[in-house]
Symmetry: C2
């Protein structure tokens, strides 16, 4: 059986674990997802790996190296999904890692460093509204009191869900591996965006992860009768909101070279009705970029817009930060290694930020970290129609294999994260 056939079976086997009618639903800490995790551990065992589950539900499968005492080189991603997901997303990264091991086994390659595969627990925020729980726990940033009572759509708390899977929320922090020496972490993932497809590139080499800064902006005018209020006597909150929405686009378009993006995904008119001039509107803004300077220029433009729209339209505008995460830069040395490999193989690639969050953004706290993207059909993500061509995945696995082989040599050098 060739790698292609073998990998296809691997992917199909994982995706048999599915509780949904439409697409794939394999949500964190459910019976189905735990059964899938067990299946994956059996697969790892069949490939000669020792595996264990840590206190947070992360699976850690290990292939020992030739030289005792060297730190591991790690690959991984996650097996959990959103509701009505596709077949790719994190699954690709986990199954790719196992396929790399199978290839090494097949070729009889022993490595100096041990190699690990991690299947991270609860990467998706779909169930509890919080993402990358497993990698947070592993990197010492799991705050149990902040998450204990988070509830899923059925009212089950995270604490209860963990307990039903035989995990104890008060022990989760023991999954922390910050004290350990780890050589590198690599994550293969589908792009979840349209860039590689549009630019006809096969591989995305991720330079950083563009964590969001988010705002709620309340625009307060005066509700009025749509028929009896002349145009020049209105304080229409929606008109102010519309100007803000369009100016935000303009600001982000100016920062395209930096990959910064800005989105208004939520706009609510309070007591909206056809015959009422909107008196209050809330918009929610999401701005992302790996360059803090670029993100700040968008923010500055947003704030100037808020000021001028408020003044010109006589609206009160209140902007409140919901979240502000620091963008994460990935290891330049790993980026260069992947670039070298792509160049040697004459494979088209693009250096690009990741606009979505990944376990890799936590793993930078433990070790030099890299990410490889493979193309997503039409950029569809978290959707039943999400699709990545098998050949594109296999090309991603080729690159991942070569990077892992490179860094699992004793004399390959990694200085740090920057």
């Amino acid at each position: 059986m060739d790698s292609r056939q073998r990998y296809q079976i691997l992917l199909n086997t994982i995706n048999q674990y599915n509780t949904g009618d439409i697409g794939i639903t394999r949500v964190a800490y459910t019976n189905e997802e735990q059964a899938c995790t067990q299946e994956f551990m059996r697969m790892c065992k069949a490939a000669g790996l020792e595996s264990r589950i840590d206190e947070c539900g992360n699976v850690i499968a290990r292939r020992e190296g030739r030289i005792k005492g060297l730190p591991p080189v790690i690959m991984g991603s996650h097996l959990d999904t959103v509701y009505q997901a596709g077949k790719y997303d994190g699954v690709v990264g986990v199954t790719a890692a196992l396929e790399v091991i199978k290839r090494l086994n097949e070729k009889g390659i022993e490595t100096d460093h041990p190699i690990e595969i991690i299947s991270f627990a609860c990467e998706e925020s779909a169930r509890f509204g919080i993402s990358t729980l497993g990698s947070k726990a592993m990197t010492g940033s799991f705050d149990k009191e902040k998450v204990r009572y988070l509830k899923d759509r059925n009212g089950v708390t995270l604490e209860e869900a963990l307990s039903l899977c035989a995990f104890d929320i008060d022990s989760v922090e023991n999954a922390d591996r910050k004290g350990e020496n780890i050589k590198a972490f690599l994550e293969l993932h589908v792009e979840q965006g349209p860039v590689l497809e549009n630019e006809h590139k096969k591989i995305g080499i991720v330079t950083g992860i563009a964590a969001p800064v988010r705002f709620s902006i309340k625009i307060i005018g005066t509700p009025a009768h749509s028929g009896t209020t002349p145009m020049n006597m209105r304080n229409d909150a929606l008109l102010g909101a519309s100007e803000i929405v369009l100016e935000l686009e303009k600001a982000a378009l100016n920062e395209q070279n930096y990959g910064t993006v800005a989105t208004v995904g939520v706009l609510d008119i309070q007591s909206g009705a056809m015959n009422v001039v909107p008196g209050e509107v809330e918009v929610k803004v999401d701005i992302r970029g790996t360059s803090l300077e670029s993100r700040q220029r968008v923010l500055d433009h947003l704030n100037r817009t808020i000021e001028s729209v408020g003044r010109n339209r006589n609206l009160e505008i209140i902007s409140e930060e919901i979240i502000s995460e620091e963008p994460v830069l990935l290891s330049n040395e790993i980026i260069e290694s992947i670039q070298t490999i792509c160049n040697e193989q004459d494979i088209s690639y693009k250096l690009m930020p990741s606009g979505a969050g990944h376990d890799a953004m936590n793993m930078v706290k433990l070790c030099p970290t890299g990410m490889i993207f493979v193309p997503s059909f039409h950029g569809l993500s978290h959707h039943p129609d999400e699709y990545t061509d098998l050949d594109d995945i296999l090309l991603g696995i080729d690159i991942l294999e070569k990077v892992i082989i490179h860094y699992s040599k004793k004399d390959s050098i990694l200085h740090g994260n920057k």
Copy 2:
């Protein structure tokens, strides 16, 4: 007791009929509203009027004229309210009409023509989503099959509600007075807008009623991940919607001299979420004006905008008309009579359209019709804080009294509606 005291008591008595905690709630065809109607009939009787209730629940109270066989001059408005209404709105017009009769009685004035007061049933759309039911019935435009099963918020149909008040929906059309000869109809109403207050005018002389044309506009783009989709690869439906909202304002501002107004009061993002580029947005547009040509220019601009936004942003935009009512022009002769009276009394006035619908807009089918507005504090309407100064109402009653006296003379001439 002077007119001021007498009128204040009249207004207060009506507003004692109220089922709400906040503001006034006296919704059509409820026990409270029917009790109020009975109270009003007792008041009419005390003022020497004969009154009856027609098949739709309209109260018609009549003061006979000196000369037999002359058509009546009619005044009126409505006693029903929206939920959590104020104390003014239609109540002012009905009570003002009764106060005019009391003044005539007090002064011993007999008129050539008979005078009628009508308290129209179910003017507000608050309960069944359809407005001016009573005046529709009286003017032959009540379509029983279209409204029979309209439901209120408790699931009670209009048919059932009528029946509980001892009215039979199959008899309502008998309230039609189209065959009758009627000399004129006059309605005094609060402005429900800020124009008189802002322009320091005491009386609004209504030139026409700006019925709305309404559209639902669906803007269809592509939902996408807010982090992973570069700005230049988006088809953001909200950005298209925002351009439409702002262009609509521009178009209406250009038509300010015609009093045309345009409003987007509803904007819904389908599956709106902070991390999703909006894939589909629906906006609802309300355009009103008494000039059909002006309204059409706004519509033309809207349609050109839809076309260009669709093309430039690669969005599919589907516009669907929800309702299109013809604006109604009121009697020029009555407008001129009111103007003359205001000029003689040195009372400030403004010729203005009504942006809201009124029973008067149906009554134009029966006879020459006029409307008098008195100022609304801050333009507040359908709101517990709705307010009109008592002195302003009394000034309106003065004008109404003079108009009624004028037209109830046999030799006062009215040629028709235009």
